[in-house]
C-alpha cells in the first residue's frame, strides 16, 4: 500500500518535472496567431488599416479589436485568407480604409529634391537613400508602394508610378472564350 503510494507520488513528481522542463525548454516564442495573421498581410506597412503597420494590425485582429477587412493592399484575396484562417465569415473590403490599387513604386524627381530627409524618416522599410541637403533616391526593389513618403515631402517631388508589365513579370491570362459571331456576319466579312 505504502509502496504503491510512493511509486505514484514519485511518478507524479517525475512527470511534473519533465513537463515543467519541456514547458521552459520548448516555449513557443511570441503569439503564433499574430505571426500567422502577419504572414497573410502584404507587409506594405502603409497604415491604411488604421494601425501603424501590418504587425500592429495583426495583433489587433488577434485580440478581436479590428475587423479583417481593413487592409486595401491585401485585396479581396487577403480578406478571404484571413477569414479562412480565423474561421469567420468573409466580408468585402471596407472602403473607408481605401481601395486596392495596382502595385506602384515611389519615384523622386531628383532635380527638385532639396534633401530635407523627411521622406527617409517616413519610409517604413528604409527604401530611401540620401543624406541631409543631398539628393535622395528610392531603391525601387525595396519600395512597398505604401505612399507614406508623399505627404511629408515639402516640395512634392515624389510621385507613385505603377509597375509596368514586362516579359519577365507578365502572366498568362485566364482562358476566356470569345462569343462566336453568327454565320451571317462571318460570310459578310469574308
Amino acid at each position: 500500500m505504502l509502496t504503491a503510494l510512493l511509486v505514484m507520488v514519485g511518478l507524479a513528481l517525475l512527470l511534473g518535472l519533465v513537463l515543467g522542463y519541456s514547458a521552459l525548454k520548448f516555449k513557443v516564442e511570441g503569439d503564433p496567431l499574430v505571426a500567422r495573421i502577419d504572414a497573410i498581410l502584404p507587409q506594405t506597412q502603409c497604415g491604411q488599416c488604421g494601425y501603424p503597420g501590418c504587425k500592429p494590425y495583426a495583433t489587433a485582429i488577434a485580440n478581436g479589436e479590428a475587423d479583417i477587412n481593413q487592409c486595401p493592399p491585401g485585396g479581396d484575396a487577403g480578406v478571404h485568407a484571413l477569414a479562412d484562417l480565423l474561421g469567420v465569415e468573409y466580408k468585402p473590403l471596407n472602403a473607408e480604409h481605401g481601395v486596392p490599387k495596382p502595385k506602384s513604386v515611389a519615384v523622386i524627381d531628383e532635380q527638385t529634391c532639396i534633401g530635407c530627409t523627411l521622406c527617409i524618416q517616413a519610409c517604413p522599410v528604409d527604401a530611401i537613400l540620401g543624406a541631409a541637403k543631398h539628393m535622395h533616391t528610392i531603391i525601387a526593389a525595396e519600395c512597398t508602394g505604401c505612399e507614406l513618403c508623399l505627404a511629408p515631402c515639402p516640395v512634392d517631388c515624389i510621385s507613385m508610378q505603377p509597375l509596368a508589365e514586362t516579359p519577365d513579370n507578365w502572366k498568362w491570362r485566364y482562358p476566356v472564350f470569345p462569343i462566336k459571331p453568327v454565320q451571317a456576319t462571318l460570310e459578310k466579312a469574308a
Binding site: 502577419d38 498581410l41 502584404p42 507587409q43 506594405t44 506597412q45 497604415g47 488604421g50 494601425y51 501603424p52 503597420g53 501590418c54 504587425k55 500592429p56 489587433a60 479589436e65 527638385t112 532639396i114 534633401g115 530635407c116 530627409t117 523627411l118 521622406c119 527617409i120 524618416q121 517616413a122 517604413p124 522599410v125 528604409d126 527604401a127 543624406a131 541631409a132 541637403k133 525595396e142 512597398t144 507614406l148 513618403c149 505627404a151 511629408p152 515631402c153 515639402p154 516640395v155 512634392d156 508589365e165 514586362t166 516579359p167 519577365d168 513579370n169 507578365w170 502572366k171 498568362w172 491570362r173 485566364y174 482562358p175 472564350f177 462566336k180
Partner: protein
C-alpha cells in the same frame, strides 16, 4: 558495329500521342545559309536566367563574333554580334514572346563585310576541364532545342559529377520541326566531334543518341559518322511518339531511369544535350566561334518550306521571304511547333536562340478550336499525360483558382506538352489553364518573397528606432548628470547656440532630435528656419529655371503653371503647419512616458502615422 545492331532494350513512358507529322515538306532541300543584310535586332532576353550586361554603346562599330553583352550572375548567357556593323540603337522592341510585350534589344546595322573579330579556339583536350567549362560562359551557347537554358551551367560538374551517361536528344518529336533532322543529315561528323568534347567534359562513360524512327536518313548519317570516327556513341532509334523529345522522357526511354520530380537528371547520373547544341559546342571549341546563328525550320503556308541557317536577330519576315514568301490565307505565325509553340505578335520580331521553327498558319491548317464543353471526367487526359499527372484534377483546381491544391497535384511537373488538350473529347484548352495557374503561383511566390523582405526591413527599422531612443535617453541622463556637475562653472546659455547649429546640420539624424526635451525649443526653431530656407531656395531655383524656359508660353500653359505653383505653396503651408503641430505634439510626448517619442519633430509623417495609433490603445 554497334551502329548496325541496335540491341539496346527500350523502355516506354506513360501516355503520349501521335499527331500528324508534316515533316516531309521542309526536308526536301538542303539547309540554306542566309546572309545578314538587314538590321539585326538582338533581344537581351534570349535565354533562361538573368539579362546579360551590355558592353557596347550606340554608334560603336563591332566585328562579327564580338561580345555585345556579358553573362551576368549565375544563370545567364552572353550575346555576340552575328556580323560586323554598327550599333544603331539600344531600345525596347518587340520580341518573340507570348506576351507580345517589347523588351530591351540591341540593333546592329550590318556593313556587309562580315568581318570576323580575332577568335581563340580552346585547347579542350589539354586544358583543365573546369577552365574549359568556364570559358563556355563567354560562348553564349544555350540549349538549342527550344528551352534556351545556358549550356555552361549544364556542363559545370565541379570535378565530381558522377555522370555516367550522356544522352543526345535527336528525337525532335514535335510535328513540322525538322531543323535537327537536317543538321544531322548534313553535319553528322561535326556533331560526333561535339559529342566527344561534351563526353570528355562530363566524364561520362557512355553516350546514347536517341532518334525517332521517322528520321531514317539522319540516323543512317549519324551511324556512318560514328563508324568513321570510331566513336563509342550508340545511335538508338526510338519509336515516334510525342513527346519523346522531352529530356526526361527520352532519358526514360533510353535508360529506363525515371527521374523523381524533385530531382534533376544529373542526380541520377545522366545529362542530356540537343544535337544542335553539341554542334555549337564543337564550333566554339575548335574555331572559337560563339553562338551567332541557328538553324530554323520555315514551313506551313509558305511557297518553298525548308531549313535556314539564320544569323540571330534577323526578322522573321525576312526568313519567310527566303522561303518563297507566305501564301494567301495566312492568318498568323507560330513560333515553335503546333503543340507547344505560341503565336507571334508580329512577323517583324527577330529570330532568337530559342527560335527552332516558324509555321505560317492558316485556318485550314490549324482550325480554330471547337468550343470547350464541360469535363466529363473520362480520364483520357490522364492516360495521355507523359508525366503521369491527373490533368482533369489540375484543370479543376486551376479553373477555380485553387492554387495550393494544384501545386499539391504537382502542377509544376507539367511540361505543357499539350497531350491532354490534344486528346480531350471536350476540347478543353487544358494547357492554357495550367499556364495561367503556374504564372499566378509564380507571381504569388514573388509577392510573398517581397513581403518577407519588407517585414524584415520594417522589423529592423523598428529595432533601430528603439535602439536610438535608448541611446538618446542614456546620453540625456549622462548630459544631465554632467550639466549638474558643471552648472556652477559654465553658463547654460553658452551651450545652446552650438547645439542648435548641430541640430540644423543633422536634421536627418534622429539621434539629434531632442524634441522630447522642451529645452531644445531653440534648436527646433532653427531647424524649421533651415527647412523653410531650403524650401525657399528650391523655389527660387525653380523660378530661375522657369524664367529660362517659360519666356513665351501659351496662356493655357501659364494657367497650368500657376495652378501647380498654387499646389506647391499649399503643400509648403501644410508642411509648415505640421511642423508647428509637431512641436506641440513633441512637448506633449514628454509627458506620456511610454508614448513613442521617436516621433521626430522634423518628420511630419511619423506624427501622422502615429497619430491614429495614439487613439487606439486607450
Amino acid at each position: 558495329m554497334n551502329a548496325l545492331v541496335n540491341l539496346a532494350k527500350l523502355f516506354k513512358f506513360n501516355g503520349g500521342v501521335h499527331p500528324p507529322q508534316h515533316k516531309q515538306a521542309s526536308t526536301t532541300q538542303p539547309i540554306r545559309v542566309l546572309q545578314a543584310n538587314l538590321p539585326l535586332v538582338l533581344p537581351l532576353r534570349q535565354h533562361v536566367g538573368n539579362i546579360p550586361h551590355l558592353r557596347v554603346q550606340v554608334g560603336e562599330h563591332v566585328l562579327k563574333g564580338q561580345l555585345l553583352a556579358e553573362a551576368e550572375g549565375g544563370i545567364s548567357a552572353a550575346i555576340h554580334a552575328p556580323t560586323s556593323g554598327t550599333i544603331t540603337a539600344i531600345q525596347d522592341a518587340l520580341i518573340p514572346h507570348p506576351s507580345g510585350l517589347p523588351d530591351r534589344c540591341v540593333t546592329l546595322q550590318p556593313d556587309g563585310l562580315d568581318e570576323w573579330t580575332a577568335l581563340t579556339p580552346i585547347d579542350w583536350q589539354h586544358m583543365e576541364k573546369r577552365a574549359v567549362v568556364a570559358s563556355l560562359r563567354q560562348s553564349g551557347i544555350v540549349g538549342l532545342g527550344g528551352a534556351a537554358f545556358p549550356t555552361h551551367i549544364k556542363l559545370r560538374s565541379d570535378g565530381r559529377s558522377g555522370i555516367h551517361t550522356l544522352v543526345i536528344n535527336a528525337a525532335e518529336c514535335e510535328p513540322y520541326i525538322t531543323c535537327d533532322d537536317m543538321v544531322m543529315r548534313e553535319r553528322a561528323a561535326d556533331i560526333l566531334r561535339g559529342i566527344a568534347i561534351t563526353q570528355h567534359l562530363l566524364g561520362a562513360e557512355r553516350c546514347l543518341i536517341g532518334i525517332e524512327d521517322n528520321k531514317p536518313e539522319a540516323a543512317a548519317a549519324l551511324r556512318a559518322a560514328c563508324h568513321a570516327a570510331d566513336s563509342s556513341a550508340q545511335v538508338i532509334v526510338v519509336p515516334t511518339i510525342y513527346p519523346s523529345g522531352d529530356a526526361r522522357r527520352l532519358i526514360h526511354v533510353l535508360t529506363g531511369l525515371e527521374i523523381p520530380s524533385h530531382q534533376r537528371s544529373v542526380d541520377v547520373g545522366v545529362q542530356c544535350f540537343n544535337v544542335a547544341t553539341v554542334l555549337a559546342i564543337y564550333r566554339y571549341m575548335s574555331f572559337g566561334e560563339p553562338a551567332l546563328s541557328r538553324i530554323v525550320t520555315v514551313t506551313g503556308n509558305v511557297a518553298r518550306p525548308g531549313n535556314f541557317e539564320v544569323p540571330l536577330g534577323m526578322p522573321v519576315s525576312a526568313l519567310l521571304e527566303a522561303a518563297g514568301g507566305v501564301l494567301e490565307d495566312t492568318s498568323e505565325f507560330i513560333m515553335g511547333g503546333p503543340m507547344m509553340g505560341f503565336s507571334l505578335p508580329s512577323p517583324e520580331v527577330p529570330v532568337t536562340k530559342a527560335t527552332n521553327c516558324i509555321i505560317a498558319s492558316t485556318p485550314s491548317l490549324f482550325p480554330p478550336a471547337a468550343p470547350a464543353m464541360p469535363c466529363i471526367r473520362c480520364a483520357r487526359c490522364a492516360d495521355a499525360c507523359p508525366v503521369s499527372l491527373q490533368p482533369q484534377e489540375l484543370y479543376w483546381f486551376a479553373k477555380s483558382d485553387n492554387f495550393d491544391k494544384a501545386r499539391d497535384y504537382k502542377l509544376f511537373d507539367c511540361i505543357e506538352c499539350g497531350c491532354c488538350s490534344y486528346v480531350c473529347p471536350s476540347n478543353i484548352p487544358l494547357v492554357q489553364y495550367y499556364r495561367y495557374a503556374k504564372s499566378e503561383i509564380i507571381a504569388q511566390d514573388r509577392a510573398k518573397e517581397a513581403a518577407n523582405l519588407a517585414r524584415e526591413r520594417n522589423d529592423f527599422r523598428l529595432m533601430r528606432i528603439e535602439r536610438e531612443k535608448q541611446e538618446r535617453a542614456l546620453k540625456h541622463a549622462q548630459k544631465a548628470a554632467g550639466a549638474k556637475a558643471e552648472a556652477s562653472k559654465i553658463e547654460p546659455g553658452k551651450a545652446e547656440p552650438s547645439k542648435a547649429e548641430s541640430g540644423v546640420q543633422h536634421a536627418a539624424d534622429p539621434a539629434v532630435n531632442v524634441a522630447a526635451s522642451p529645452a531644445s525649443a531653440q534648436a527646433e526653431a532653427a531647424k524649421k528656419a533651415a527647412i523653410a530656407a531650403a524650401i525657399a531656395r528650391a523655389k527660387a531655383q525653380k523660378a530661375a529655371q522657369a524664367a529660362q524656359n517659360t519666356a513665351a508660353v501659351t496662356p493655357a500653359v501659364a494657367a497650368e503653371m500657376a495652378a501647380i505653383d498654387a499646389r506647391r505653396a499649399e503643400a509648403a503651408a501644410r508642411a509648415a503647419n505640421i511642423n508647428k503641430d509637431d512641436v506641440a505634439e513633441a512637448a506633449a510626448a514628454t509627458h506620456v512616458a511610454d508614448q513613442d517619442s521617436t516621433t521626430s519633430p522634423a518628420s511630419a509623417q511619423t506624427v501622422s502615422s502615429v497619430a491614429p495609433n495614439s487613439k487606439e490603445p486607450s
